[in-house]
Symmetry: C2
Subunit: 171 residues, 2 copies
DNA sequence: GCATTAAAGATAGATATCTAATATTAGATG
DNA sequence: CATCTAATATTAGATATCTATCTTTAATGC
């Protein structure tokens, strides 16, 4: 446990909340990746697989929207996934613009292997939290997410250019 | 509001928690970056500045530990920050290995500008949450973080190679 | 129906992160 | 005190993400 708990200098509680949220997100990510790698699936692939298990045959645009990722990101992930044989990309009904992604047998079968891993992570994370605490937690997170979305939209309305949020889920 | 709320197919509540945490983390990141960019400070720079404001003169290793980032990441960030005149890197007391980072006047002065921005984000995020709800939230997050840390250590103990957690704070 | 506009995807280039390998300095040990 | 080991920093290379731009196809308006 090398975790140095903000040693001597006190940290304002306000400040700490954002960090806690980021640390928790990081914990989830790492715990999940740890499990996914045993099946040779990356985190990014998991994201799109999960969406396709719910709604197969979405277009690249629809996928990137649902994943909250940009199209180039979806593009490269999907190309890779096609290479790996998880999906097949093709046009449908005479529309040559849209590239729809369809799960292959292999992609479908991954569901039974991978979904339990995600549930395992959730269970591990919530150990020791009562049902009520979990419910309250979800509610509080939902409120914060909405608050922060509004904040971003207000900013955008004021003409601020919103930059990408890069990798760090930590601090 | 293009947010398509998991349309028709129900999502298991368990699954949703991890996503909520990641979305909240993303919200915090974006909201903060939005503000930092008006001062031409990147998120990564903010991370190290914040640490140095608490403890000036830390070594690169100490900084990367506290930031939960790798040394190469800290290295490039610090080099850039030196270029920008936020810090000065130098050895101390005859130890030629350690590279310590010291805030310049400019780096110090940023504190008064940047810290209020972070508090603003926290305030925005917590709008509509009671003091108690906030306290419970912190507690629940702390529990999850600890749970997930233990999970990772268990995995490591079993000899699993822990991969990096890449950018996506989203899904 | 032809020309313009919009939609969707692909590509190029930048950034931040990671792992792995290398170099340098300090400390420990025979 | 010479050599080995550990600590620290640096460099190189890979990956995933982003923005911006370009290309292709569809839809719209005269």
């Amino acid at each position: 446990m090398k975790e140095k708990q903000t040693s001597h200098v006190p940290v304002r509680p306000d400040e700490r909340l954002a960090r806690l949220v980021r640390l928790a997100a990081r914990g989830f990510n790492r715990a999940l990746q740890l499990r996914l790698q045993t099946e040779n699936v990356t985190f990014g692939q998991w994201i799109f697989l999960r969406i396709l298990w719910q709604e197969d045959g979405l277009s690249q645009r629809e996928l990137s929207d649902r994943a909250h990722l940009t199209e180039p990101t979806a593009h490269t992930a999907l190309i890779k996934m096609e290479e790996l044989g998880f999906i097949e990309r093709r046009n449908v009904e005479g529309n040559k613009r849209r590239q729809h992604a369809f799960l292959t047998r292999k992609g479908l079968e991954l569901r039974d292997v991978l979904e339990p891993l995600a549930l395992e992570v959730n269970d591990a994370a919530m150990a020791g939290l009562s049902k009520k605490a979990q419910e309250d937690l979800r509610h509080a997170l939902a409120v914060m997410i909405r608050n922060l979305e509004n904040d971003e939209q207000d900013a955008a309305a004021r003409g601020v250019r919103v930059p990408p949020t890069k990798g760090n889920t930590e601090n």
